[in-house]
């Protein structure tokens, strides 16, 4: 591999991960350092980090992975015929495959004086050190170029005590990332930090003194400013010198195809040096996507294509929050939503086209940058959330992190992830030390946001503020189901519904996996339960349910507890019970020495601490139906007492709840389903935070859907008002069937409805009677004859699941 930067080494890491033994790898790096993250040079210059902090892979890493490393050796020649590379000092190596990751070179203005001492660019550790050294000896710095890099350099030099002027050719700063208003705010805050700006100034000459060192910068208009140090940050050019000398086709970079192959099939190129579909990327996230694809092909797997990237930018100047993505300037056919608080230093502009976000510029408050970027990449229709789009995703005030919503304001010791007890400092440290760039990586290494996920927004913020523009939110829509396949949830469902394998319907996991060309026959713990659900949902009574592909709770029909015992929640339709049932529950608790009996939030009784081997007998003695409190299925229908007793009640909510629960119990779903029925708008059953909530009013029933009382309280949305109990059943059932058929596995109704939009749901449930009736009929068909799992097991089914083995000697 030629080039020892981030893109190249990331490719090696990916390659070593999937095919460690395919190649003997040798790396040539022109710099005398091992692999470091170039993005964090700015904090080094600003004195906020040290070189040691920004190393990604030290020399030991190369040794450990048996990667040969030539540091400080620049390859000057590729002999393609002989498949050999030669370094400036004569070192040569042969190759079977060559990976070019030569990065880019800073562009140097072709003005007189450009070679004077004290005129430098800003690209690597050497440049950074030169700037730090100069800042100790000299006073006046001029940075040519008011882009991202130039401003970061200027900020760093200012913090190092120099008097800094930024010279920019264009009308406003960072014109490739910001509109004029945001740039003005940026300029004001940088001026407040003591930087000076000269805009619309074209550099004509760099003037030296008698010692050959820079003394001043002179402009086209004849004016001049003093300078002891000139930093050129006017852009980068892909470094194609070597590739061109070897006769590889180059145009704005080394031209590569979607598999990162150059015109010589034995030679690949990744990173800033590569031109893919006419674009050379200068940000790190696209480089990592390229690395993944390239490694896959180098490993001879031959799957994965790089299809280009949409990029976003964050400026890493401490104390300045700035974000931009996509087409932020707008133009014909676009609309702007703008918030401009000049006094408060907040500016937000969201550019829409056809109700989709196409660009965004945020200044001063960038909390929602990653959310807008996600909307942009997903091309999500925002018509419904348009009126509060500007106010952000607002998902940050969730539980478990002291109500914090702004990561930057948090001290290192403050807890971010309340589930796993991860403080901010630990996350930042892991990101820096381990070179993490994705939410997934952070989750894996720190566990932050990996349990309930409510702090995801905060973790994303921390990631974004630590690695800056390198952070890219996941592209949800294109995301494959899991590592075992490239197919999305939707593709898998469609295949299960429509596909034929060897002329037959796909009715088992193995058939589905073979049809969909799963990479491994029975992986993994996340896709198998999903496929199992999709099968039984698409082919009720026909698909074969696979207990081994169900999580233990659904396999054993009880809830596993932390000590390995189980909990048992018998069903009480509508929350109604009888003295006889209560007596049986009490007897069972005594007989099986069940230590804890508790009333649940869903108005049922929970027996906790039951030994697994006792479960079938417990069920037999209880003689009550399964409460499915363990399953991705209908849990409970919570009710208030309603008009039968309550002096305010206007409808018989209890019996409505019983009817609903009797009609819908045993219904498996993508995730758990909770319902409630209240007998009047006082809503004592809390219908407003249920997957389906029904509220009795004087003239009938209001049906609300997609509420949630969990991590993030979500108020259910009004679906329809109906008159009769039969209609309540039909509408609620049809909605749940739609959810069962369309939601991704493990997606709650709130997330499903948010993804597809309430309007889409209403079209199929409220406006189209035929579709509603068909959905309701399909659900009834699926539930018809579905047995009570407890009753079956009390009678001996799956006995092996509950029995333990003994050794003769025990």
């Amino acid at each position: 591999m030629v080039g020892n930067g981030m893109a190249g080494v990331r490719t090696l890491e990916e390659l070593l991960k999937i095919a460690p033994d395919v190649y003997d790898i040798t790396v040539f790096g022109a710099e005398p350092h091992a692999n470091y993250t170039r993005i964090l040079l700015s904090p080094v210059l600003a004195g906020e980090m040290t070189i040691r902090d920004i190393m990604l892979n030290d020399v030991d890493w190369y040794e450990k992975n048996k990667v040969g490393l030539h540091l400080g050796k620049k390859i000057v020649k590729i002999e393609r015929g002989a498949r050999k590379v030669v370094a400036a000092d004569g070192t040569a190596e042969l190759y079977d495959r060559l990976l070019l990751a030569t990065g880019s070179n800073p562009f140097i203005l072709p003005v007189p004086g450009k070679d004077l001492e004290g005129v430098i660019t800003y690209r690597d550790i050497g440049d950074t050190n030169a700037m730090i050294a100069a800042s100790k000896k000299y006073r006046h710095a001029v940075v040519i170029g008011g882009g991202l890099l130039g401003l970061e350099a200027a900020n760093g030099l200012k913090l190092r005590g120099m008097n800094v002027t930024v010279v920019h050719l264009m009308e406003w700063l960072m014109e490739r990332q910001l509109d004029c208003t945001a740039a003005q705010l940026l300029r004001q805050s940088l001026e407040a930090k003591g930087l000076q700006f000269l805009l619309q100034k074209q550099t004509a000459e760099i003037v030296g003194n008698e010692n050959g060192r820079v003394r001043a910068v002179r402009f086209e208009d004849g004016s001049e400013i003093a300078a002891d140090l000139v930093v050129m940050a006017v852009g980068i050019r892909p470094n194609t010198e070597l590739a061109e000398s070897a006769g590889l086709h180059c145009s704005r970079g080394i031209v590569v195809n979607d598999t990162m192959q150059t015109f010589d099939p034995k030679i690949y190129a990744v990173g800033e040096c590569a031109a893919h579909r006419g674009t050379a990327y200068g940000l790190v996230a696209p480089l990592f996507e390229m690395a993944k694809v390239c490694a896959n092909h180098l490993a001879n797997f031959g799957i994965g294509r790089y299809a280009g990237s949409v990029t976003s930018t964050k400026l890493k100047v401490t104390g300045i929050d700035l974000f931009s993505a996509g087409d932020f300037m707008g133009g014909a056919g676009t609309e702007d939503i703008v918030l401009n608080d000049a006094q408060g230093g907040v500016y937000k502009r969201i550019v829409l086209r056809d109700n989709r976000v196409v660009g965004a510029v945020l200044y001063g408050d960038t909390v929602d940058g990653s959310w807008y970027f996600q909307l942009l990449r997903d091309r999500q229709n925002v018509a419904e959330i348009r009126d509060h789009l500007m106010f952000g995703q607002n998902h940050l005030g969730n539980t478990g992190h002291q109500g914090q919503s702004r990561a930057v304001a948090m001290a290192d010791a403050m807890e971010v992830c309340g589930c796993n007890g991860v403080p901010k400092g630990v996350i930042v440290k892991a990101i820096k030390e381990k070179g993490l760039f994705t939410l997934e990586d952070v989750r894996k290494h720190t566990k932050a946001s990996s349990s309930c996920g409510s702090c995801t927004g905060l973790v994303e913020q921390i990631l974004a503020s630590t690695v800056g523009g390198a952070y890219q939110p996941q592209e949800a829509k294109l995301k494959p189901m899991c590592g075992c396949t490239d197919h999305t949830h939707e593709e898998v469902r469609a295949a299960i519904r429509d596909g034929l394998f060897e002329g037959k319907r796909l009715l088992s996991i193995s058939a589905a996996m073979r049809f969909l060309e799963w990479r491994t026959p029975n992986r993994c713990a996340s896709c198998r339960p999903a496929i199992n659900y999709y099968l039984i949902c698409a082919w009720p009574h026909r698909a074969k349910d696979d207990p081994q592909s169900r999580f233990i709770n659904e396999r054993a029909h009880a809830n596993i507890q932390k000590d390995g015992t189980f909990s048992v929640v018998p069903r009480m339709f509508g929350g109604m019970t009888t003295p006889d049932q209560l007596r049986r529950i009490a007897d069972v608790a005594d007989k099986y020495k069940i230590p804890t009996v508790k009333v649940t939030g869903g108005q049922r009784i929970d027996l906790l601490g039951v030994k697994k081997e006792d479960l079938p007998a417990v069920w037999r003695d209880l003689d009550m139906p399964s409460g499915h409190a363990y399953a991705k299925a209908l849990r409970t229908v919570k009710t208030c007492v309603g008009s039968e007793w309550c002096r305010f009640g206007v409808q018989d909510s209890t019996n409505m709840g019983i009817e609903l629960e009797k009609a819908l119990w045993r219904m498996y779903a993508p995730h758990k389903v909770k319902m409630a029925v209240s007998g009047c708008p006082r809503n004592c059953a809390e219908s407003g935070i249920k997957d389906v909530g029904v509220i009795g009013v004087d003239s009938g029933w209001e049906i609300y859907v997609a509420g949630n009382g969990g991590i993030k309280t979500e108020v259910a949305q009004f679906l329809v008002k109906v008159k009769t109990r039969e209609e309540v059943l039909e509408y609620a059932g049809a909605f749940l069937q739609l959810y069962r058929e369309e939601a991704r596995y493990l997606e709650r109704t709130v997330h499903y409805v948010r993804r597809v939009g309430l309007d889409t749901v209403k079209k199929k449930i409220v406006e189209d009677a035929e579709s509603r009736k068909a959905l309701w009929a399909r659900l009834q068909y699926a539930l018809e004859g579905e047995p009570d799992p407890w009753k079956e097991r009390a009678a001996g089914k799956d006995r092996v699941e509950y029995e333990t083995l003994e050794t003769a000697e025990a």
């Binding site: 894996k444 290494h445 349990s451 491994t520 026959p521 029975n522 992986r523 993994c524 713990a525 198998r528 339960p529 207990p547 081994q548 592909s549 169900r550 999580f551 233990i552 054993a556 596993i560 932390k562 390995g564 092996v800 333990t804 083995l805 003994e806 050794t807 003769a808 000697e809 025990a810």
Partner: protein, 110 residues
């Protein structure tokens, strides 16, 4: 000396078909339960039924390939070495196990 000489014997625990494919059975034992796993074929693996993370019963997890996902917090434990998949760290004890003419045999050293 007698203790040192204690013979390591193979003890029959069940028939192979008593363990579901991609499943497990628990062998009760005073020193801690043992989980005996079976992959999609006829291979068996035996681990102490305690996840190195928080002691979860691995026997109750979903088996895939030659790994099991702990039912409590989803750590992935390799069946061939008893060790957690990176970046998680930790190993649980392994026990020798073999399948002979349809019988699953376990070797217990204590």
């Amino acid at each position: 000396m007698a203790a040192v000489m204690a013979e390591l014997r193979w003890i029959k625990v069940c028939q192979l078909e008593d363990i579901p494919e991609l499943g497990a059975r628990v062998v009760r034992r005073p020193g801690g339960d043992i989980a005996v796993f079976r992959n999609a074929g006829v291979e068996c693996f035996a681990l102490l039924d305690r996840c190195p993370h928080k002691g979860g019963p691995l026997s109750q997890g979903i088996v895939f390939g030659k790994s099991v996902a702990c039912p409590l917090h989803g750590w992935t434990i390799g069946l061939e070495d008893g060790c957690a998949e990176a970046p998680d760290v930790g190993c649980t004890r392994m026990f020798p196990v073999k399948v002979e003419s349809g019988e699953v045999l376990l070797q217990l050293s204590d």
